[in-house]
Symmetry: C2
Subunit: 512 residues, 2 copies
């Protein structure tokens, strides 16, 4: 058994059975070993941003890592933006990055680069494995590192000669350290603070799942606390029958308004809310001055247990308020943001996974959909665009029995448009809705927000992506995905409804 085979067998032993790949020469022994080992599903991406984004979507849905396979420093570089988003989502991922054979490196061949240096920017664990004997143990360590709370990327660098040399050893999985319980004083402090009123729990990570939310809902019922999550949340289980959590708005003034009356924020597996960007003369955080911020459970601690104990301290036994099932009727006529949101809310199938990078086009979507049947909502907590289609790929691979709805703004979608091809190749059950406003609309607002005034001609040229207009139906066709363009709400309802009913990848472009 060579090192590559030892690696694959160890990954499988550790429960990592999916690999999103974009291999090159240094990874050929890994690729060849796939045919000697049963059980590793490999999904090819035509660009590494697809590979890492898919691993993010997969890890969020499975709560365990997929692996990626990338080609030296430049391959990893291409995957870096979606690894950044995955870092902010605390998604477990095991990256395998091929390198030159160790004796070849002193010659500084063309593709040599500082892979460890590049990896460190987004990985919590980085190691170059030095021998086929070590590769199994290193891989087991990588898997455990990726899953240790709060989760993240572990990057294992695999020199080509380590992959091809005999002596590969398979290692057993390592135990993953459990989340620490918080001490009683913090539970009592949180209870005391919330009892005063005008408080909120700020939730992220594991707190946004149905059961954890139910416990938070009991706290809310007992104390009047509101339930919030940061703009940069990772995955929420929401919809009818579940406890709703309000996402803090992106726009600073809206966030300030939303939080203005709150005197206490209690963080549970969430960082303190912070404005996405700084603006001249505006505060860095959206809370009102004097608002107290307590940590009930930090990112590594057991927030679910802490909130259950909080319920006990508060004697919070009252059933939580859950959302009822309510859908809007289908609107008709010209395209408006409210109209699009209503169409989506009217049509979202039960159990759908939404991968949301609708940006300015989707600002009304979250409230509009909270009473639809139960579903998962994935957003981009890192802010690096080109997120939604790759994440949809990974979610669809992770959950083949569920429909994925990908809400994709046009400017962002272009970064990783190659995801369409993987959707087609793997016949993934993804409906992609492209919001074609032909502009980096958010930047026009940002230009004003940062006090840079109204854009002149040259500035506008950098913010508008029409001239030529992108034709998403052709872009999808080019990569094997059937697509259609709609220009009013009636045809949107018809085409989106059809796409959501049919299995397999479809694309609907809304001209806005």
């Amino acid at each position: 058994m060579n090192g590559a085979e030892g690696l694959i067998r160890t990954l499988l032993a550790c429960g990592v059975d999916t690999c999103f790949t974009n291999p090159g020469t240094s990874e050929m022994h890994f690729v060849a070993a796939l045919d000697r080992v049963e059980g590793m599903r490999c999904v090819l991406g035509l660009f590494e941003g697809v590979v890492t984004g898919a691993a993010d979507g997969y890890g969020r849905m499975k709560d365990r890592p997929a692996s990626t396979l990338m080609h030296l420093g430049p391959g990893l570089g291409n995957g870096l933006a979606n690894l950044h988003n995955a870092r902010r989502a605390y998604t477990p991922i095991v990256n395998v990055v091929g390198d030159h054979a160790i004796p070849h490196l002193p010659y500084d061949p063309p593709l040599a680069s500082d892979i460890e240096g590049i990896a460190r920017s987004n990985s919590r664990w980085v190691k170059t494995t030095k021998s086929p004997q070590a590769v199994g143990a290193d891989a087991a360590e990588a898997v455990a590192a990726s899953m240790t709370a709060p989760g993240g990327s572990a990057t294992l660098i695999l020199p080509a000669d380590v992959a091809w040399t005999e002596g590969g050893a398979v290692a057993k999985p390592l135990a993953v350290r459990a989340r620490r319980k918080v001490d009683e004083a913090r539970v009592r402090a949180a209870a005391e603070a919330l009892r005063k009123g005008a408080g909120a729990l700020v939730l992220n990570g594991p707190m946004l799942r149905e059961k954890a939310l139910a416990a938070c809902g009991r706290v809310a019922a007992a104390t009047g606390a509101e339930l919030l999550c940061p703009t940069q949340m990772n995955r929420a289980e929401r919809g009818a029958g579940r406890v709703n959590v309000d996402r803090i708005p992106y726009v600073v003034e809206s966030a300030q308004k939303r939080l203005a009356h709150l005197r206490t924020l209690v963080l549970v597996n969430s960082k303190m809310p912070v404005n996405f960007f700084a603006y001249p003369g505006k505060p860095a955080v959206p809370m009102a001055e004097g608002c107290e911020v307590l940590t009930l459970a930090d990112l590594e601690e057991d927030g679910v247990d802490a909130v259950q104990r909080l319920c006990e301290v508060l004697s919070a036994t009252q059933a939580p308020k859950v959302e009822d099932l309510r859908r809007p009727s289908l609107p008709t006529g010209a395209v408006t943001l409210e109209g699009i949101a209503a169409v989506i809310a009217a049509l979202m199938p039960e159990n759908v996974i939404v991968s949301d990078e609708s940006i300015t086009s989707g600002r009304g979507l979250v409230p509009a959909t909270k009473n639809t049947p139960p579903h998962d909502w994935l957003v981009n907590p890192g802010g690096s665009i080109g997120f939604a289609m790759p994440v949809a790929v990974g979610a669809a691979v992770a959950c083949p029995d569920r429909k994925v709805l990908c809400l994709q703004s046009d400017g962002s979608g272009m970064y990783t448009n190659q995801a369409l091809w993987t959707m087609a190749r793997e016949s993934l059950d993804i409906t992609t809705l492209v919001f074609a406003n032909r502009t980096y609309e958010i930047l026009k607002g940002e230009l004003r927000n940062v006090g840079a005034g109204e854009p002149g001609r040259k500035a506008r040229d950098m913010l508008e992506i029409g001239r030529p207009d992108l034709d998403w139906v052709s872009l999808a066709k080019a990569q094997g995905v059937p697509g259609v363009r709609v220009e009013d709400l009636d045809s949107l309802a018809r085409e989106l409804g059809g796409a959501l009913r049919e299995p397999g990848p479809r694309l609907v472009e809304i001209r806005m």
Copy 2:
């Protein structure tokens, strides 16, 4: 004047008048300042790999830097692969990377990342500018650093508040340190070695321009030395009336065969040849055992001066052998690699710039085109794919009076397919020829070369990019570039000929 304006005015003062951009919120003051300052041409890319590849193509053609504008660590990450290639081409580039406002960073907002760490992997100079007063001096230093021999990327990180704060200062250009002259002993040693026969000059960088090659040709005429360049050359001026230089083949056995009889290699502004990858049981370098390798001028030294002095020592006054003008007749019939090469050689217009990422499909192209009218040939010395279309964009922006012929393999082209949109938006005079073999063909050979055997089904799936076939005509149409598909040499000749005669962007897809 704020910091952003001070930066732009300094870049202009230093001769940097072109900016390839993909801005975000943190760069809005830079964008806004463009309308207050005359003279900076801004070219938008829909993905940062286009931005950095374009800067590479521009810098190679102009021998001075363009600037780039990118958005924090993830934006730079997206640009990293083509910055890697530019590093290997020693292309001067000034990257401007926006960052969060300095007081915002302690809050660890979503897009915060280790920009300096990411930049260091491919930049020879990295600095975060700390105040609007310093931005001018820092920018002037960046420009000089990018142009100091052998040339490379300088990355200036611009925090948003430095950009928006008043007090921006414009700095004057700094003198760029001239290349060091080599000492006489090295010239004499090279002369002595070459006089023994069975020698070659190995040339790169400035040595591959017409005048430098003419001097090398005199050395060749006087000593019988052959003229070679590494596989990883950056830009060659070649064609009829010029001295030809032979590129060392990529495939190890071909390279070994090409160099087998040589006893001496004299490096002039070139690194020692090295095989692109290591293979089990094969040597790391292609030279025969016992072949002596001398350095006449290293990468930072004045190779042109050294070869002129070598001519004097050798009394090499004989006119160099130059290529005569000879074109093949147009072949007809089914597509073959030789046939495609002949069509290209028959049609290449005078003064064309070729951006070549044809990979396996283009292995016969270099010899087939050496007798066509004078032209420039750009290749990828870094090996990170997704190179040719962005580089073509930059070359076309740099040389608006010249036709650019982009030779693009399909697998590689997908990485940065967004370059097509910039070609359309800027009406760039680029003909892109896509070699659609629907496979990572090179990897099939590499799988055998690394001794991993014949690919099984799963391995083949990772190497083949058909299923679904990519439709390049639709991909071009989606982004505003007219395209056509051809399936035989007759239609290739007709369509390529037409595209090369017409101004503006065109795409021809050859089904292979």
